[in-house]
Amino acid sequence: MTTDEQLIERIQSSMNAEVAGLVPPRELLEAIEAPRARGLRLPSLGAAVAALGSAGAVAIAVVALAVIGHGSSPAGSRVSSGSNRPSPLPAGVAAEVRALEAELAILRRPQTAADKLPKWAASQAAIEVANGPVGAQLIPGLTRFIATEPSPIGRGVERVYMVVEIGKPTGPRLVGIGKPTGPRLVEIGKPTGPRLVGIGKPTRPRLVGIGQLFAHDPSQELHVWVIGLTRGVSEVVSSPGLVPPPADIPLSPAVMLLDSGGIGVVPDGVTRVKWVYEPWGYKPVALYPTIHGNVAIDRRFPIEGPPLLRSATWYGAGGKVIASYSDAYSIDRENRLNAVMQSALDASYRQPIVPSLREHFAVARLPRLKGWTAGGISHNLAAKIVERNPYGLNVGDAHFVPYGGAPHIAIGTPSGAFVIPGSRGACLSGSDPNGSGLPGFSCVRPARVDSGSFHVTTKRSDGSRTIVGLVPDGNASVTVLVTGGQKRTAPVFDNVWTLTIPTSPATLLVKNAAGQRVSVTI
């Protein structure tokens, strides 16, 4: 019997270990305004640039609004007499917005009428951002007019705006690999050699994305490109053409390559920007884009179509290099990441499967699938493996079980569950059979698997929840008693079952690995 002292000691040590090494991000503290201080002191240029690359919750986008044929310049618009933030900021982002304002002069000036997106464009942008994969909400009060440019499609003019958007919460993501120093690194793996620096939740769970908007009105079109100067950019955006700053380079000028040129957001203090393109088969060509406020624009390409961006450099006063980016670093970083990941996966293939799993679970006796690659594994699973593989998972012996007993395939069917056996446990990753969404994921020890109660849950906004479970052989079906005594039955295919039930507690009736009938509250 554990004494209270032993229990408390266990709780204490677990809590301490859980949060050991956790310190607040520097930018979070910097964003706190001390009492009585009127506004933040503008950080040094270096700090501003670093923060520019790491502000978390809000993102900068550039909007190009093409007004074909009847484009009127907004230059003569009257200045709004109202506040530059007419609507209150959503909770939790005020500090990030202030941090952006400290770095971008254009956001510090009052919003004018010309800065506001036309109504149709604003509503389109809001909808598109909200429905996009990463963005959540625009902050209308921070929209700024940047410049009027000749339309890249050769008709009319194009207005370029900067907008600020809040990213939406998201799940785990792969960050990358990099140097063992720097404020944004997560160290997982051996203390020497290349380190996997991040498979995990972002510190601030709001990421930025890239999207293009097209208005319904055929004479007008709106594009929104998130140039992204937030921490999220280098972590998330994978759209073709974007050159993300490496995660481990705090000063990294991001450049958005469009079909018709490049756009980049630059912080205060940058007086000149150089982009070097390397067209395929041609010599590198350097361009010096025009800086409008805090946005660098150059719609020229050395040849037709977007070429590779070899490097980007920000210069300050006197020609001093503030930050630079080279794709060589990015390639090297990706290679190192792949090497670490592949090494972990290779080791995983050699993990023996715990005998009880082989004995009691048909799915663990299935032959290894040919053609299985690790490319489709979830970040959750990858993290478990890379993090010293505490459950001894064997990715090579993982099997995908489609709901309803469809034939086995390795990957590609959206509705089903992955069963990943291992030497010291097993993992289950089940998607929601009723729609898209994050899969439930959990790993447990063999005893729990043998109990028949191993399951993952996804809750749905309508109050119901979908359960995906793994049961031993001998269970042709499972029964779930829900509130009110209602009985629900789910068939079992390859040891996997799924059922959608109300959120209230329910009782699962199954046979465990010993063939005994057991009931478990789920």
Binding site: Q12, A17, G21, A95, T203, R204, G425, L438
Partner: protein
């Protein structure tokens, strides 16, 4: 440990506040993470709001800023807990390696492990012969059980056994009487004992994931 804070002109009060932030923000963040059931991102939000509210009420808070901030944090975590009932939750995710935070160096507030060996910056002990798998799973179980406690019971465990507060200090932070704190402590330990003795719960079982319909 180098800290960089740029919090306005160096007035006397600012210096005090900065000193408070430097001294306590790490501890507050760690407590916030435990109070939120291990959600680092929400913990950062709570810390940020806690510091901002403390700054706004610095005149009244400065005599005992740590206690004031702790109470704000507790209240915020309760609000967060209530909001969390209807909020889309993120995929639970192991964060053993820590988060992209600070300078990655051990902080002065890092506690030693119960066995007397120091924790690494990443929170994972790397001593020779240590069974990392058991350590991870064991810790998973405790943290999962902690997350499964009612909010008040979780608060009392975090405040008393992580923040190492006395009953009186815990009572102030929670806005409750000392008797209530003792009662919560007793119930929380009993519940933890039950949960950790249950082999189903002793396995890591992350909280449910809510999926937008």
């Amino acid at each position: 440990m180098q800290r960089t804070l740029t919090l306005g002109r160096p007035r006397r009060r600012d210096v005090d506040f900065e000193a408070f932030v430097v001294a306590y923000s790490t501890q507050l963040l760690r407590a916030a993470k435990l109070l939120t059931g291990g959600d680092h991102a929400i913990a950062e939000d709570l810390l940020q709001t806690t510091l901002m509210r403390t700054a706004r009420r610095w005149q009244s808070a400065k005599s005992a800023p740590e206690a004031y901030a702790r109470r704000v944090l507790i209240n915020l975590s309760r609000d967060q807990h209530r909001r969390g009932q209807s909020r889309v939750r993120e995929q639970p995710f192991p964060e053993r390696g820590g988060e992209p935070v600070g300078d990655g160096q051990p902080h002065a507030d890092d506690r030693s492990r119960a066995d007397g060996r120091p924790s690494t910056p990443s929170g994972a002990y790397r001593g020779a012969g240590d069974d990392h798998a058991d350590a991870v799973v064991g810790r998973d179980a405790v943290i999962a059980a902690l997350a499964g406690l009612p909010a008040r019971q979780r608060e009392v465990l975090v405040l008393r056994f992580y923040a190492d507060l006395s009953v009186a200090e815990t009572a102030f932070a929670m806005g409750a009487s000392e008797g209530t704190v003792k009662s919560y402590t007793s119930r929380a330990l009993a519940r933890m004992r039950e949960l950790l003795a249950d082999p189903f719960v002793a396995d890591a079982e992350p909280p449910a994931v809510e999926v937008p319909k």
